[in-house]
């Protein structure tokens, strides 16, 4: 009868849920007690400032001590990294663009044939014609040094973690921290340690690119088929031989996926190198154009990164997929030597040609194409002509979504926009509405639905900043307990306590409000697009390059047109987050729906399901694990964007990270960064455990 079988409370689940039910009743009582108390007890909304321990100065002192002691060591390390970086930079800077283009086309051709070669050539031509060649080569040399370091480190740590379970238990949580703490938070201490220059951005990229590599190596090693392992044992391998000659080669596909992901994350992070500076790369161009508010030019520069990322991704995928087929082909070996000779001849020829025709070596700056001003004019034209419309959209979003989530209906309902003020009568009507909605939800989803509607009703009425912290913490810890057990609950409790005691509560609630709104919007719109894409192949083909561009384009690019149209403020910040976080729900929804087994759909059709029934009662419930994974990714990406959102006027934790950079204070940025990481890890933990449980429940059936 129920819509989603997994939630159907069987008698067994009911008895297990009993203590949880009691906990939720206790929380409801707590809410009834605490909401009225807020007016007289201000400490319920924020930890008293004079009770905040001096974590920040302590961190600053510790960092100063550490820098004094060890900076020579780090300087030496920096010099070690800088040597290959400078060499690569010199080489790429010297090579004619023609030769680099030919080389890129040859590599792409080997990986995936003519179409990929064409993509490589057009990417290179774009970079040359629009005048980004020199900074692009600088960016590429950063990537060229960062990726091998990340890959080697990832291999090493992945193998170690695979062999020593104790090390793995230590490593896994630190990977989460590495991936969720905003890189900006540690740029300042890195400048002190490694000295000024591109090495700082490079190290930051490595820190960010390592975790996916490590995870993929571990995954690959674990998933080696048993018969392969056995054959290694039969052949009498030692442990070391077994690892290097049997397991690692068998895990190669996973390792290759890891390398691909390492390249992609590095590309998205090298932009940060520019925030430190010392290197005239694409990131620097982007930041300069952002400062001058030149949308056209920053879009053109951002496209360089997006195109390179897409090219690398496609070539990498082609290598992974084509690996097996190629190995079979290589056994024949016949044409291989000749291909190599032809390639070398083409490279040499391109060098010679470039030497004869200087514009083929260095493209003259007078010939650059610059449609930047045209693009700027287009944005200005749109702003002038459609401001009335965009303004209406913005105000609706602010007054119906963002303000209520922040300060609650109690603060947001003003006669100016709503047409009425929040009289007791209006509040009573709202309460009645929520109560009947909750009863309706009870009919479909039982107590979970009832509780969820009541919870959201309260949040919408009181807002994140108007909700007392003991209540908010209790709800989160209870959710963590129910989905992930006592360990997750303990982590959630400790994390929330840190945020509270470090004096970040108010800021954290602003971040929760912004990300919460952005996640809801992204998830709703993204899922709808995903459903459409799953139904129509043509729409899917149309939407895919847009998704690729949204995800690989440096996020700074969209800030200018957003601000031009919507002005600085919360709505622009939300929009910036949405543009980035909308991609996972599109992708996971489409993949999930397309992955539903054909026989389930046929069976449903045979039963006479309409198209709508098929979608809501068969496809979506079956695709639930993927959809939840998409939601999870949406949240993580939204929190990743919090720092960028601060650039257009968000004043949550992200802004605090900037403050740390602005005052060169390590402590301030680190605490705020840790706050963001904690929120991300709690949300991630709860959702992952939940989707694991659902998948397990489905598996049992």
């Amino acid at each position: 009868m129920s819509l989603s079988g997994a939630i159907d409370p069987t008698p067994r689940a009911w008895s297990a849920a009993r203590p949880a039910t009691l906990a939720w009743i206790a929380i409801a009582l707590l809410a009834l007690l605490l909401y009225p108390l807020r007016a007289t007890e201000p400490w319920l909304l924020a930890w008293p400032a004079d009770l905040v321990p001096p974590i920040e100065p302590a961190l600053d002192t510790a960092m100063a001590w550490f820098t004094d002691r060890f900076h020579l060591l780090f300087r030496a390390l920096a010099a070690l990294i800088r040597a290959p970086l400078e060499a690569l930079r010199a080489l790429l800077g010297w090579l004619p663009w023609l030769t680099v283009t030919v080389a890129a086309a040859l590599i792409a051709h080997t990986a995936g044939g003519g179409r990929l070669a064409l993509l490589a050539i057009s990417t290179c031509l774009y970079i040359v014609l629009f005048g980004f060649w020199a900074p692009t080569m600088n960016t590429l040399s950063l990537v060229g040094v960062a990726v091998p370091i990340a890959v080697l480190l990832g291999l090493l740590l992945g193998v170690l973690a695979f062999r020593h379970p104790r090390f793995r238990r230590l490593l896994l949580p630190s990977l989460d921290v590495m991936q969720t703490i905003p890189a900006l938070a540690y740029l300042i201490p890195f400048v002190l340690l490694f000295g000024y220059g591109p090495v700082v951005g490079l190290v930051a990229s490595v820190i960010y690119a390592c975790p996916p590599m490590i995870r993929n190596v571990m995954l690959g090693l674990e998933r080696v088929p048993a018969d392969v392992v056995e054959s290694g044992v039969m052949a009498g391998c030692t442990r070391r031989q077994h690892l290097f000659w049997v397991r690692l080669p068998a895990a190669m596909p996973s390792v290759l996926v890891g390398i691909n992901q390492a390249i992609m994350t590095t590309l998205s992070m090298v932009i940060l190198a520019a925030i430190v500076g010392g290197y005239s790369d694409i990131g620097w161009q982007l930041l300069s154009t952002l400062r001058k508010s030149l949308f056209g030019q920053s879009l053109l520069a951002g496209l360089v990164i997006a195109l390179i990322a897409i090219l690398f991704d496609r070539v990498g995928q082609a290598f992974v997929e084509g690996g097996r087929a190629r190995r079979a082909a290589q056994r024949r070996r016949s044409g291989r030597g000749r291909t190599m000779a032809v390639a070398l001849a083409m490279l040499a020829g391109s060098l010679l040609l470039a030497a004869l025709l200087p514009p083929l070596w260095v493209y003259p700056s007078g010939w650059y194409l610059d449609p930047g001003p045209l693009l700027n004019d287009a944005v200005t034209w749109f702003t002038v002509n459609y401001f009335f419309l965009t303004d209406a959209i913005k105000n609706a979003a602010l007054f119906f979504v963002l303000f209520p989530l922040k300060i609650g209906l109690e603060g947001a309902v003003r006669p100016g926009f709503w047409g009425f003020s929040l009289t007791p009568l209006v509040s009573a009507i709202y309460a009645g509405l929520i109560a009947s909605l909750a009863l309706l939800a009870y009919r479909f989803w039982r107590w979970r639905g009832f509780g969820a509607v009541l919870g959201f009703g309260c949040l919408y009425y009181f807002g994140t900043t108007g909700t007392p912290w003991p209540l908010f913490t209790a709800v989160i810890v209870a959710l963590a307990w129910q989905t992930g057990g006592p360990r997750l609950a303990l982590f959630a409790l400790a994390g929330m306590a840190f945020i509270l005691i470090a004096g970040l509560w108010h800021r954290a609630m602003l971040t929760v409000q912004l990300c919460g709104a952005a996640v809801i919007v992204s998830f709703l719109i993204g899922s709808a697009i995903g459903i459409l894409a799953a139904r129509s192949d043509r729409f899917s083909r149309l939407i895919r390059p847009i998704c690729d561009a949204l995800q690989t384009m440096p996020q700074f690019v969209f800030l200018i047109p957003i601000m031009m149209v919507f002005l600085a403020g919360e709505f622009s910040a939300m929009l910036a987050v949405v543009l980035y976080a909308i991609v996972p729900p599109i992708r996971y929804m489409e993949n999930g729906l397309r992955g539903v087994p054909a026989q389930s759909i046929e069976a449903a059709r045979a039963l006479g399901c309409s198209r709508r029934q098929l979608l809501w009662q068969v496809q979506i419930p079956l695709a639930m694990p993927e959809i939840m994974l998409g939601l999870n990714q949406t949240i993580v990406m939204a929190l990743y964007m919090v720092v960028v959102a601060a650039l257009v006027g968000d004043v949550g934790l992200g802004q605090l990270v900037y403050q740390g950079v602005g005052t060169a204070s390590f402590g301030e940025g680190a605490i705020a960064g840790l706050g963001i990481a904690i929120i991300a890890m709690i949300a991630d933990g709860i959702l992952q455990s939940w989707s694991r449980r659902q998948a397990a429940a489905r598996g049992r059936r």
């Binding site: 740029l187 300042i188 400048v191 002190l192 000295g195 000024y196 220059g197 700082v200 520019a274 925030i275 430190v276 500076g277 010392g278 290197y279 005239s280 620097w284 930041l287 300069s288 952002l290 400062r291 001058k292 508010s293 200005t380 702003t383 002038v384 401001f387 105000n395 602010l398 007054f399 100016g416 926009f417 800030l559 200018i560 601000m563 031009m564 149209v565 002005l567 600085a568 403020g569 910040a573 601060a646 650039l647 257009v648 006027g649 968000d650 004043v651 802004q655 900037y658 403050q659 950079v661 602005g662 005052t663 060169a664």
Partner: protein, 323 residues
């Protein structure tokens, strides 16, 4: 000791002769360069700073130095200067919240205050000229209250909206508005790009806008505007509540005119003494900088070309700095 001295003098004379012959430079540059290592100058994110730095670099080059320009973000550059990775940064603005880091760097003994650059900054509430037609009575600050409504957005209504500096730049603008009884809300914009975009968007729509802004800035080569005439700044205003129009509150006055200074690595003085004294003497005024900014940002000429032309034409100005 004495022979050593003589030897050095001889080698200097030879160098001078070579220099004079090759570059036809006056004998004044005889002793330089004291070292052939490149003098690294910081290039920050705004055009005015590029003008200042490239002028300094061009003069140093003509003195015989090896000069290197390196892109540097504003805050991280302080650490780089203390470490000697960057020799000098020539435009540090007190007003943008960097006074404290500047003082900290100088106090560490690893960086040296090279004195005022000579630019006169002014930052305050600013509006494009056409706004005057929408709100007559400007630039007098008292006029703001009467037209708060036209500056209002639904978020701030019925109060007007002031596009403020990012929070991390500091500034007490809400205190200022409250103390003067101006019926406005300060909305932090998040970044310089955000403020500029707000202004550009408003100018495109000919909409009323009031923003926190500063001069010299390249934007002024594209559009005209005025600062609001707030009650003049006084040292007591920020400290003493009883001073000024509002007897109960501080900040009832205009912004303090902060300094714009040059900062150098402490080792500059010993390694390149003549370069040190030139950078110390270096000054530039608002008019010169705005002219050159205009040539770069509006006429689209490269910064090297514009600054080289200025150095060629103004030898009388910069020659004394090198002496």
């Amino acid at each position: 000791m004495r022979t050593d001295h003589a030897k050095r003098r001889l080698s200097r004379a030879i160098a001078a002769a070579a220099c004079a012959a090759a570059l036809s430079l006056p004998a004044q540059a005889a002793s330089v360069p004291e070292s052939n290592d490149p003098i690294v100058l910081a290039i920050n994110e705004w055009t005015g700073q590029h003008v200042t730095t490239h002028i300094a670099g061009e003069i140093l080059k003509r003195m015989g130095y090896n000069v290197e320009f390196v892109t540097a973000s504003y805050t991280p550059q302080f650490a780089a200067i203390e470490a000697g990775d960057i020799a000098a940064a020539l435009e540090i603005w007190e007003g943008t919240g960097s006074g404290e880091i500047f003082d900290k760097a100088v106090a560490s003994g690893k960086a040296e205050d090279l004195g005022d650059l000579g630019l006169k900054e002014h930052q305050s509430f600013w509006y494009p000229l056409y706004v005057k037609e929408l709100c007559s009575g400007l630039p007098d600050w008292k006029a703001l209250n009467d037209c708060a409504e036209i500056f209002a957005t639904p978020e701030t209504a019925p109060k007007g909206r002031l596009v403020d500096f990012p929070l991390e730049w500091g500034g007490h603008n809400q205190d200022r508005l409250d103390a003067l009884g101006i019926n406005f809300v300060a909305v932090p914009a998040g970044s310089e790009g955000a403020i500029v975009t707000e202004i550009k968007s408003a100018v495109a729509r000919k909409a009323p806008v009031l923003a926190m802004f500063w001069t010299p800035h390249w934007l002024f080569s594209e559009m005209e505007g005025e600062f609001v005439a707030l009650p003049a700044y006084d040292d007591r205003c920020y400290e003493d509540a009883s001073w000024g129009l509002n007897p109960d509150k501080t900040y009832d006055c205009d912004w303090d005119r902060g300094w714009i200074k040059k900062l150098a690595w402490a080792g500059l003085k010993d390694k390149w003494p003549a370069a040190h004294s030139m950078l110390k003497n270096l000054t530039i005024d608002n008019e010169t900088q705005i002219d050159l900014i205009h040539a770069i940002d509006v006429d689209g000429k490269p910064v090297e070309e514009v600054t080289k032309a200025w150095v060629d034409a103004n030898e009388a100005v910069w020659k004394p700095w090198t002496e």
